[in-house]
């Protein structure tokens, strides 16, 4: 078990700052995911924890002790690299036994420990084979076994499933999660696949261009993203963002987009409170709405629905993604597979009013989330780009 902390850690490579003033706290026994697109600084962060990199600024602490200059071997952390780095000329048994032999563990103990860990990972029958004769998933398990047998304080994994086929990735995800629950050790897991992070993590640290954007449970990162970047990284397809302008009224405020209008009524409306200090009249804001919260109708089913046009339809089997054109903007909606829509079809869309977000257009920071029906009221806008559609009376 290990409690890992990074305090204001910065790491540079030449002119590039890979990690910028990163502060993270990873709890004992936690399944902790670091999620972000390529170049976010995730691998560098992992290498700083294991000791393959030294911070230029800040501290890395393991169980309260500063380990900046402690050799990786002394940190007692097992890292599993993306390329696994199995010894190609050794059998599976010898690969797993290697760290124990290094420690001069007696032979009978080695045999027992390797057998036990091989059984946990369902690779007992492969002990005499060499890595070249194993499938991708089997090699993965050997690498994990080799780490487990060391009984380290913590495990670090760098995109371990990235090279596996989609099918195997799904299976291994569940296995890894259950394994971590069984072994109950700290696991820091780097991935650029948001489904992996959402599925497995106790908490997710979302990183982008060297900075930490948000660190929270999957539920919170999904429902309450800190900013536009987090909302793009977590969730697929990413959240839609529609620009609008704010205007303050005596009895509330209004956000105007060509296609629709959002009203926040009341002098003490929480949205007005969070905006008024920072956002001036006429400023741009972004309305953020996830594709599953955009509802598509073939008729104007209620007063809040407004017109849009179908661009393309992406049928995924269990659900369909609809690309819609709303004036000059595009947005995606998720509809059930039974809803048949055609390209260029005129439709009416409405939002799930309990799941709307308002973000600052310049900083991208999320300012407000509705969280309940009635917090904001949506009405069709007054300017139409679809000339064939008449505005409702």
């Amino acid at each position: 078990m290990a409690h890992i902390r990074l305090e204001n850690v910065t790491k540079r490579f030449g002119r590039t700052t890979a990690v910028k003033a990163l502060s993270l706290e990873i709890n004992d026994g936690e399944f902790f995911c670091i999620l972000g697109p390529p170049g976010a600084g995730k691998t560098t962060t992992l290498r700083l924890i294991v000791g393959l990199e030294t911070p230029d600024e800040g501290n890395v602490l393991i169980d309260g002790e500063v380990v900046n200059h402690v050799h990786p071997r002394e940190r007692d952390i097992a890292m599993i690299f993306q390329n696994l780095a199995l010894y190609p000329d050794k059998t599976v048994f010898d690969n797993i036994a290697y760290p124990l032999r290094e420690r001069k563990v007696p032979r009978s103990d080695i045999e027992k420990q390797v057998a036990a860990v091989a059984k946990t990972l369902h690779i007992e029958k492969l002990l005499d084979r060499k890595p070249g004769k194993l499938s991708g998933g089997e090699r993965q398990r050997v690498a994990i076994a080799r780490a487990i047998v060391r009984q380290p304080r913590a495990y670090l994994m760098d995109e371990p499933l990235a090279n596996l086929d989609a099918l195997l990735r799904l299976e291994m995800r569940i296995e890894l999660k259950r394994l971590q629950e069984y072994v109950h050790e700290t696991l820091v897991y780097v991935t650029s696949d948001q489904i992996e992070a959402m599925s497995m993590a106790d908490r997710i640290a979302v990183m982008f261009q060297g900075k930490l954007l948000q660190c929270d449970t999957p539920g919170n990162v999904y429902d309450f993203p800190a900013d536009r970047q987090v909302a793009t990284i977590v969730g697929s397809p990413p959240m839609n963002f529609l620009p609008c302008q704010v205007s303050y009224r005596d009895n509330g405020l209004e956000l105007t987009h060509a296609g629709f209008r959002l009203q926040a009524d009341g002098e003490r409306h929480p949205l007005r409170d969070s905006l008024q200090q920072q956002i001036q009249e006429g400023s741009d804001l972004l309305v953020g709405v996830r594709p599953e919260d955009v509802l598509v109708h073939e008729r104007q089913v209620h007063a809040a629905a407004f017109p849009a046009r179908v661009s393309v339809v992406e049928p995924l089997g269990a659900e369909t993604i609809v690309d819609l054109r709303l004036g000059p903007h595009m947005l995606k909606a998720i509809v059930p597979p039974t809803q048949i829509l055609n390209e260029q079809q005129e439709v009416w869309i409405s939002f799930n009013m309990a799941k709307l977000h308002i973000l600052d257009a310049h900083t991208g920071i999320r300012l407000y989330t509705t969280g309940e029906e009635g917090a904001l009221v949506c009405t069709p806008g007054t300017a139409w780009s679809n000339s064939s559609l008449t505005p409702p009376s």
């Binding site: 697109p37 086929d165 799904l170 569940i174 599925s199 969730g235 397809p237 393309v312 995924l316 995606k332």
Partner: protein
Amino acid sequence: MAGIRLEGLRKEFGHVVAVKELTLNFPDGKFAALLGPSGCGKTTTMNMIAGLETPTAGAIYFDDRRMNDVPPGKRGVGFVFQNYAIFTHMTVAENIGFGLKIRHVDRATIEKEVKKVAELLQITDMLDLNAGRLSVNDMQKVALGRSMITRPRIFLLDEPFSNLDAAFRAYMRGELKRIQREIGQTMIYVTHDQVEAMSMADNIAVMDFGVLQQFGSPDEVYNRPVNTFVANFIGSPNMNFVKCSYRVEDGQGWLVQHNGNARVPVDDRRRRLLEQRSDNAELILGIRPEHLHLHSQQDSPDLLSVTVHFVEPLGPKTVVHLRLGRDIVRAIAPAAYRAATASVQWIGVDPAFMHIFDGNSGLVIR
């Protein structure tokens, strides 16, 4: 226009048969996907269509014209690969226009065509930028534009977005589909990602070990898979498979679970098919997670008893892994769903969406 036809196409590399007797018709002007796991032969097939590999046997026809002996440069094929390989010392406009420049097209025409392509790809504001300064996402768009400008007869794309971030991939799926619709050229897209194939393609050729498994629309391969390979490969989370056998009990036909006590009724039509079979071989019941309905009580006698193995919240929905006897099946539940591990739940199998496969061949019984 007849489109692209492959007849008995075969490719051997020494002892390895990468592609086995592939016969396929790609309709003209449509978006087709070659989908399958690594090593299934999709890239080799694409390379043969392009002329980069010579078939060991069989023929390739573009609009009924036999192409086997036509060199790649003369086939009218445009490529987009994973490594965009654009010219980093040139501007975006120069990159896109390159194909026309080397064909000695006049400057005014090049400018016009570059503008058209840039508008289609929504990169008009980048035309004067140095291509080396672009993000990797934008570079791939430029690579696409560079390929498009010469109006190739067909486009071959080999997993062009697999190295790019997930948000961009989700965005480009819609974009590429829209672009293909607008330019109307035949597109053949190689991928191992079934989401890409399903979202973009008009027709998907599913391959495994060099053999074509099924060629059909997204709806066909998803809802009417011809074998367990296709059924398992398409759709995420995967289809549930439960080993069972056919039995008549209480005057009704049933599929009875091997690894447990569950049984589900079989409709009359398939009852007749199953009773005609000479052996009582093992069968496989296939049902997609979204067609297993989860109940917390035994609301009806048809429901099957399960215990919760694992709950996987994925944002907009939750995947619930359940123990049915000694088998594990997955069901989809709303985002807020929570249940304790080992708690007892009930599932209903939607008979309209139940697939039955032969346990030996994997073929569907319809």
